[in-house]
Symmetry: C2
Subunit: 156 residues, 2 copies
Amino acid sequence: MPSDPPGFELPIRLLLGFRVLIDELHAELARQGHPDLRPMHGFVLQAIMRGSDTAVELGRTLGVSKQAAGKTIETLERLGYVERACDPRDTRRKIVRLTAHGTDSLVRSERVFDELRARWAEVIGPQRLRELEADLRKVTPPDLFRLDVPGWFGAQ
Amino acid sequence: MPSDPPGFELPIRLLLGFRVLIDELHAELARQGHPDLRPMHGFVLQAIMRGSDTAVELGRTLGVSKQAAGKTIETLERLGYVERACDPRDTRRKIVRLTAHGTDSLVRSERVFDELRARWAEVIGPQRLRELEADLRKVTPPDLFRLDVPGWFGAQ
DNA sequence: TCCATACAGTCGACCAGGTTGTCCACCATG
DNA sequence: CATGGTGGACAACCTGGTCGACTGTATGGA
């Protein structure tokens, strides 16, 4: 009967696993025409695509202030991933939309993630990978897109 | 035969798993007398305990500049987790040591991590948990303590 | 109809934690 | 004993958060 590892290994392995996948994703995205996309931009673009179309809404989804969301939108606008337009029905609001470049990055990310998952399946076996995902689903919150991730790690 | 989930679920589950563990650790640490310890401080204290006893050495271990390591040490010194003393054999060096408070936080972290791991084992089964850890070991770098994590997520 | 309130966005000040560059004091070697 | 490498500190800067204050635009109730 195998002995259990110390408890601190588990969170570190989870973080390293995340890092490996995200690092490889962004190395590949850089090769495919998206060299200045940062890890967190992916989450932001996902949130925008899924309907967070204003700074306030995006801030709520990501768990940051509307000002922080506004700054991130500004960055992504400067990089050409999103564009802003006025809402004709409520002139206070500015609607954020993905550009073709932004959509392209998400399409490519999706494909790369699938490829990376297939590589993991080769290493640990497809059945074990499905079990790993199923097990993680049991111990993590159900909502995939409520990450609260920006500024979480070092934040106050 | 079950169908595979989209590839992007895997990294998010890994990150969420990490977050769940770290959030619960720090909630418990706050209850046990360490309310102002931040997630990344744990990694820094670990690195110090494992022998990174100067700013330069700590920076090398954590993958950041010596200046950044120095700032972090300053913060932990202000919070009472480490103390600095001059090296009598090399007056340039300032040795960083854990205080009793710092050691206490690591001892408690270890215990809490073990408890959290036991809770996961109850949910998904001890054998499945060991398999999960073994599988992650196959797809992540071997060195647990070379995280390069400070400033990684949003960094340039 | 008008006014009070709610709300979207922006600006400014601040902070944390990273970076690079520079400098100084010290050690170690030839 | 000069010289090169090293540990630490300082300054300037960047990013990406925070909060508070302010503007302008709905919107619903008196």
